[in-house]
C-alpha cells in the first residue's frame, strides 16, 4: 500500500464532493403518483402482530375506497423500524402521504418541517379541532403553533393487579404510593413478586421518569425548551421508581433485562407477579397469554400522599400528513375518515384504544369498570410529555441512563441520589449538545 495512492484516492473523493454538490432532500417524490387516486399510508403496529393490523385495517380502507374512490396502499411498520423509516423518509422526501406517529414524537417531528401543519382550513376539512378530546389534541405539536398531527388512538397507563392474589392476601387495590409498596411487599413471597417492570426498556423508563417527576411537580424542560433534568423533583421521582427494585425489592432483578413491556405482561398473565404498569392496549396481550378479563382489575397508578395526581402521560398514536404529499385533499379526507366516529368505534376494540373524540365512549373492553377507570385516567390524570423538539432526546438519554441504573441495581450495586443526579447531568449535556 502506498501513501501516494491513498492521497490520490482522497483527491478523487474531494473531487466527488464538489461534483455532487448538494443533492439534498429537496426532491419531492411522494410515493403516491399524484393522480389523486391513491394514497400511501404507514400504520404503526397496534394489534397483536403486523398481520393482525393488516387484517383489522383492510376492511376500513376498503370502505374508504368505496366512499371516495381513493385506494390506500397500506404498510404496517413495527416499532423497531418505524423511527428509522420516518427519518429516512423525512431526509429524502421519499415518504408516504399519511402516517402514524407515537404522539410523544409529535413536537420532535414537527421541528423537522417535513409535516403538514393543520391550519384552520385543514381542521375544517377533517371536521374541526373541537371534535377531539382536548388533552389528546394538546399532543399534536408545540403549543402556539399549528399542530402537525392529530390524535388517532388514545392510550393511558394503568396499574393492573391480579384479583385473586390480592384477595388471598386480604388486600384491596392501592390508592397511594405507600400502600402500593406495602401491598407489593406483602405479595412478594414464595417466588412471586409484587411487581414486574419493563426496566430494560428505555422508552418505558423515560415515561415513568416523567410521570414520577410530574407527581413531584417537577418539569423536564423549562419554558424556553431547555432541559432541566437535574432538579430535585426529577431526581426524587426517578429514585422512587428505582427503589421498587432497589430498596423495596418487590421487583425481580431479572426485570432489568425486560426490554419491552411484553415480558412483564407474560409474567403477569402467568401469575408470577401481582401487579404491572401498562397501557390499556395490554388487554389483548394479557388475554392472548391466557388470563381472563375478569381475573384482573385496573386502578390509576398511585402517587405518594400529597403529591400531584398524575397517573400517566397522555399516551397514544397521532396521525400526520407529509408536507410534500401530492394528494393533500385525499390525505385530509383520509384523516377525516380515520378520526370519524364510525372508524374510531370499529378500531377501538381490536387496537384496545381509548377514544380521542370528545364525548365518545370507550369500546376497547367489555369490562365497564375498566373502561371507566381508563377513561378517567386519560381525561383527568394524564399530562402530556414535554411538547418540545428535544422530547425524543429526553427519552433516549434519560431512558438509557435509567436502563443502566436498573442494571447496576440488578447486578448487586447501589444507585444513590447523587449517582442519579450525575447521570442526569450527563444526559442533560447530551441533549444540549444535540439541540
Amino acid at each position: 500500500m502506498k501513501i501516494r495512492t491513498f492521497a490520490a484516492a482522497a483527491a478523487i473523493a474531494a473531487l466527488a464532493i464538489t461534483a455532487t454538490g448538494c443533492s439534498g432532500g429537496t426532491s419531492n417524490s411522494g410515493s403516491s403518483d399524484g393522480g389523486g387516486k391513491t394514497l400511501t399510508y404507514w400504520a404503526s403496529n397496534q394489534g397483536t402482530s403486523l398481520d393482525n393490523d393488516k387484517e383489522v385495517l383492510t376492511p376500513q380502507l376498503k370502505k374508504f375506497e368505496e366512499q371516495t374512490g381513493i385506494k390506500v396502499n397500506l404498510e404496517v411498520i413495527g416499532w423497531n423500524d418505524l423511527q428509522t423509516r420516518i427519518q429516512t423518509a423525512v431526509t429524502s422526501g421519499q415518504a408516504p402521504d399519511v402516517l402514524n406517529i407515537g404522539n410523544t414524537w409529535a413536537a420532535s417531528l414537527q421541528s423537522t418541517g417535513a409535516f403538514m401543519p393543520f391550519d384552520s382550513a385543514a381542521f375544517d376539512a377533517i371536521g374541526g379541532k373541537d371534535k377531539f378530546v382536548k388533552t389528546a389534541m394538546d399532543t399534536g405539536g408545540v403549543p402556539g403553533q399549528d399542530p402537525t398531527s392529530v390524535p388517532l388512538y388514545g392510550l393511558a397507563y394503568g396499574l393492573y393487579y391480579n384479583k385473586a392474589m390480592f384477595k388471598d392476601a386480604g388486600l384491596t387495590p392501592p390508592t397511594n404510593w405507600a400502600d402500593m409498596v406495602a401491598d407489593a411487599k406483602k405479595l412478594t413471597t414464595g417466588g412471586k413478586y409484587g411487581f414486574a417492570l419493563a426496566a430494560g426498556s428505555y422508552t418505558e423508563n423515560a415515561h415513568f421518569a416523567f410521570i414520577n417527576a410530574a407527581q413531584n411537580g417537577a418539569d423536564l424542560f423549562s419554558a424556553d425548551g431547555k432541559p432541566t433534568f437535574t432538579s430535585d423533583g426529577v431526581v426524587d421521582g426517578i429514585s422512587r421508581y428505582l427503589d421498587l427494585m432497589q430498596a423495596d425489592k418487590v421487583v425481580n432483578v431479572g426485570n432489568a433485562q425486560y426490554d419491552n413491556g411484553t415480558k412483564a405482561v407474560n409474567d403477569f398473565a402467568a401469575g408470577k407477579v401481582a401487579m404491572i404498569l401498562n397501557q390499556n392496549n395490554a388487554d389483548s396481550s394479557i388475554v392472548a397469554n391466557g388470563m381472563k378479563n375478569d381475573e384482573y382489575g385496573v386502578v390509576a397508578f398511585p402517587a405518594p400522599a400529597g403529591a400531584k395526581d398524575v397517573a400517566s402521560h397522555v399516551a397514544g398514536i397521532n396521525l400526520s400528513i407529509f408536507k410534500n404529499t401530492k394528494n393533500k385533499d385525499g390525505a385530509l379526507k383520509f384523516v377525516k375518515f380515520m378520526t370519524s366516529p364510525e372508524t374510531q368505534t370499529a378500531l377501538g376494540k381490536p387496537f384496545a384504544s381509548l377514544p380521542v373524540l370528545a364525548g365518545a365512549k370507550a369500546v376497547f373492553t367489555d369490562n365497564v369498570e375498566e373502561a371507566k377507570t381508563f377513561s378517567d385516567i386519560y381525561a383527568n390524570k394524564s399530562k402530556p410529555l414535554p411538547l418540545v423538539p428535544s422530547e425524543d432526546q429526553f427519552e433516549s438519554t434519560v431512558g438509557k441512563a435509567m436502563n443502566q441504573m436498573f442494571a447496576t441495581i440488578a447486578s448487586g450495586g447501589t444507585v444513590s441520589k447523587a449517582d442519579i443526579k450525575t447521570a442526569l447531568t450527563t444526559a442533560q449535556q447530551q441533549v444540549e449538545a444535540a439541540g
Binding site: 495512492t5 417524490s29 397483536t48 429516512t88
Partner: protein, 279 residues
C-alpha cells in the same frame, strides 16, 4: 513419524475445547426449536419437556417467513450473479493487463472497505432517491436497490480473490489461445473461466453469504413487500410474546441451505480465499 505425547494431548485438548465452544450454540438453536413455548419461557433445560415440531409449523404463520425467504433468495442470488460477472471482468483486467490507474483502482476499492457502514447508509439512501427523481428508477423499497447495494459490498473482496486466482493460472494458457486466434474475451471465457472454476465458486459463496446475512441496510431499504430474512427474524418478538422457540426454528431453517452449501464447497472457498496471499 511418531507423534510425541505432548503434541497428542495438545491436539486432544484443543479439539475438545473448540468443539464444545462451537457446538453448544448450535445445539441450543436446534433443540430450542423443538421445544414448546413454555419451555423456552422458563429455566433452560438441555432437553425439551416434550419434543415437538410445532414451532416449525407455527413459525410460517407468526411472520410471513416464506415470503421473506423468497425475497432473500432472489436478492442474494441476483447480487451474487451480478457481482460475479462484474468481478470476473475487473479481475481479468487487473490480472492480465498493465494499465494506467491499475493500482489506484485497487487501492481505492480497498479503502472503501474501511468505511463504517453507518457513514454511508443515509447518503446512499439519498442517492437512491435522487436516482429515482432524475431517472425514474425506483430503488428504495425495491429488491433492485438492495441487489445493487449488496453486489457492491461483496465486489471488492471478490475482485481480490478472483485476481489472485487468475494470477495462478499460467499465462501460457491464454497466450496460446490468443495465438490460435481467440480474442481476449474468448480467451477469458474459453480458457480462463474453466480453469478458475474453484475460484468462481469461492467468490459466489462469499457474495451469497454477505447478502444473506446483511441486517443494517436491509432494515432501512426494505418495505413489507421485499423484506429479507435478516430483518424478518426480528419480528418474532411480537406485541404479545417473544417466541424464542420459533426464532430458533426459523434460524435453523434459514441456516440450513447456506451451511450445507458452504460446507460442500469449502475446499473451493479456501483455495480462492488464499490464492492471493499464499504463494
Amino acid at each position: 513419524m511418531r507423534e510425541t505425547t505432548s503434541a497428542k494431548s495438545f491436539r486432544i485438548v484443543v479439539i475438545a475445547v473448540l468443539t464444545v465452544f462451537t457446538v453448544i450454540p448450535v445445539y441450543v438453536m436446534v433443540i430450542s426449536g423443538l421445544k414448546p413455548l413454555k419451555d423456552v419461557q422458563g429455566a433452560f433445560s438441555w432437553w425439551p419437556s416434550t419434543l415437538t415440531i410445532q414451532p416449525y409449523i407455527d413459525m410460517w404463520r407468526t411472520v410471513p417467513l416464506a415470503s421473506y425467504f423468497v425475497n432473500s433468495v432472489i436478492v442474494a442470488s441476483a447480487a451474487t450473479v451480478l457481482s460475479l460477472i462484474i468481478a470476473i471482468f475487473a479481475s481479468y483486467a487487473i490480472s492480465r493487463y498493465n494499465f494506467r490507474g491499475r493500482s489506484l483502482f485497487s487501492n481505492t476499492v480497498l479503502a472503501t472497505q474501511m468505511l463504517p457502514g453507518v457513514l454511508f447508509l443515509l447518503p446512499l439512501f439519498l442517492i437512491f432517491v435522487n436516482i429515482n427523481t432524475n431517472f425514474g428508477v425506483q430503488l428504495v423499497g425495491t429488491r433492485i436497490g438492495l441487489i445493487i447495494t449488496y453486489l457492491t459490498f461483496s465486489l471488492p473482496f471478490s475482485i481480490w480473490m478472483l485476481a489472485g486466482y487468475f494470477d495462478g493460472i499460467p499465462r501460457e494458457l491464454d497466450e496460446a489461445a490468443k495465438v490460435d486466434g481467440c480474442g481476449p474475451m474468448r480467451a477469458l471465457i474459453q480458457v480462463i473461466l474453466p480453469a478458475a472454476r474453484p475460484g468462481l465458486v469461492a467468490v459466489a459463496i462469499y457474495s451469497f453469504m454477505t447478502s444473506w446475512g446483511e441486517v443494517l441496510f436491509a432494515s432501512v431499504m426494505t418495505t413489507d413487500a421485499n423484506r429479507t430474512l435478516a430483518v424478518g427474524l426480528q419480528l418474532y418478538s411480537t406485541q404479545t410474546n417473544v417466541y424464542w422457540n420459533q426464532i430458533m426454528a426459523a434460524s435453523v431453517v434459514v441456516s440450513i441451505p447456506i451451511v450445507i452449501g458452504f460446507l460442500l464447497l469449502q475446499k473451493n472457498f479456501v483455495a480462492g480465499l488464499t490464492a492471493g496471499a499464499v504463494k
